[in-house]
Symmetry: C2
Subunit: 207 residues, 2 copies
DNA sequence: GTAGCTTGATACTCGGCGTTACAAAGTCGG
DNA sequence: CCGACTTTGTAACGCCGAGTATCAAGCTAC
């Protein structure tokens, strides 16, 4: 079994290819060249071909890569082929935006529950789901085996929620709040920080 | 003039340090060690010290770095000290979430206008701003010198808005929609793709 | 069949980053 | 005042990822 862990760089690039492929498919394309992927990702075309050819011969010379089959192949490589249940915390503006967007669904992540504490929001429908009270989370986590939690809560309660998630066995926390979160080392915390990315982009524009 | 462009890696890390420092300051801390920054960013402490010491001696041995002055120094290095005006497009759930959040403001980005096309939203107040009609954008861009545009619009109109931004001289586009955007090479397009980042995190958890 | 793409593969180089090690400078407790 | 401890600043070394250049093989189209 060639379960050699991919390097960070390869895994990151494969994920990005996946995004481009998913969108290209939505736009009705059926095949795409490494050159075209390069234009959308900024990754060198040779690098792209090397990344892909390391796992098999997915492309057709003179044509490019078949989008549907390439998506499937990359999903296999990343071991994320199936559907993954995720839980969303916070049904405010941000939570609603996430719940009604297709960004997660397009990549095999199904939001299986939304939690909030506000009585105004609990019981309301957001997308296809009904917002449940935060107290119900422990039970849901146990029965559905939630591994990923998405935090769309205010920064001052984010750590508290994160602690509860860790206690319930969640292994990946996606943090949309601006708080810095502490978690055990076996839990992956990813904090979304648009302003930081913006600073970074701005620097390269200014110089 | 030492306008040597920083390498990609250094600029990216400095931006992340800035996020940690900003949050640490909010939590009332006044100084921080490279070790502590490392725990939040995952960057090697030696690497952090090397990044910083390349520009001057900012720390105190035995103590750490003074947070306020380090933030100022990094801002200087990144040439992003001042306040930057950005324009937000789309006043739906996502747009409102962005407008009322402090993530951009904390890093010197001031949202100076919000645009939408829906009559229901135009004229409404979001945060401190009144939503303006999208048609007004060209005029605002000319008078305020907007360089950064944030797209919180549906995917099917994102490219159209992006084209208008390019025409108005915007140089950095931050795309929250799931569409792939085409733009001239002198315009930086950054697409937020949480699902991709999630896939990436999931891969490393599964293996 | 020929011209023109595009993939697949190899060799080479360069640079970023982790690692290790250590001196210098500060804090803290007695 | 002294000694233990912490933390920065700096240098040396080596690995590995990624860009570059180059070429053969295979597919399409005319």
């Amino acid at each position: 079994m060639a379960s050699d862990r991919l390097t960070l760089g390869v895994a990151a690039r494969l994920s990005r290819y996946l995004q481009v492929l998913t969108q290209a498919r939505k736009m009705g394309k059926s095949s795409i060249s490494s050159q075209a992927i390069s234009e959308y990702t900024g990754v060198n075309p040779t690098q792209i071909r090397r990344d892909l050819s390391g796992f098999g011969k997915f492309g057709k010379r003179g044509v490019g890569y078949d989008i549907d089959s390439l998506i499937e192949q990359i999903r296999k490589i990343l071991r994320t082929s199936g559907t993954h249940n995720i839980a969303l915390f916070g049904a405010g503006n941000l939570g609603q935006a996430i719940a009604t967007s297709s960004v997660f669904g397009d990549h095999g992540f199904q939001i299986s529950a939304i939690f909030d504490v506000s009585p105004d929001r609990v019981g309301q429908k957001v997308g296809d789901l009904v917002v449940r009270h935060y107290d119900e989370f422990a039970g849901v986590a146990a029965s559905e085996g939630i591994m990923v939690g998405v935090l769309a809560v205010p920064g001052d309660v984010a750590q508290q929620v994160a602690d509860d998630l860790v206690a319930a066995g969640v292994k990946i926390i996606f943090n949309y709040s601006d708080a810095l979160l502490s978690a055990p080392s076996d839990v992956t915390v990813h904090t979304s920080s648009p302003a930081v990315e913006l600073l970074y982009a701005l620097y390269f524009y200014l110089t």
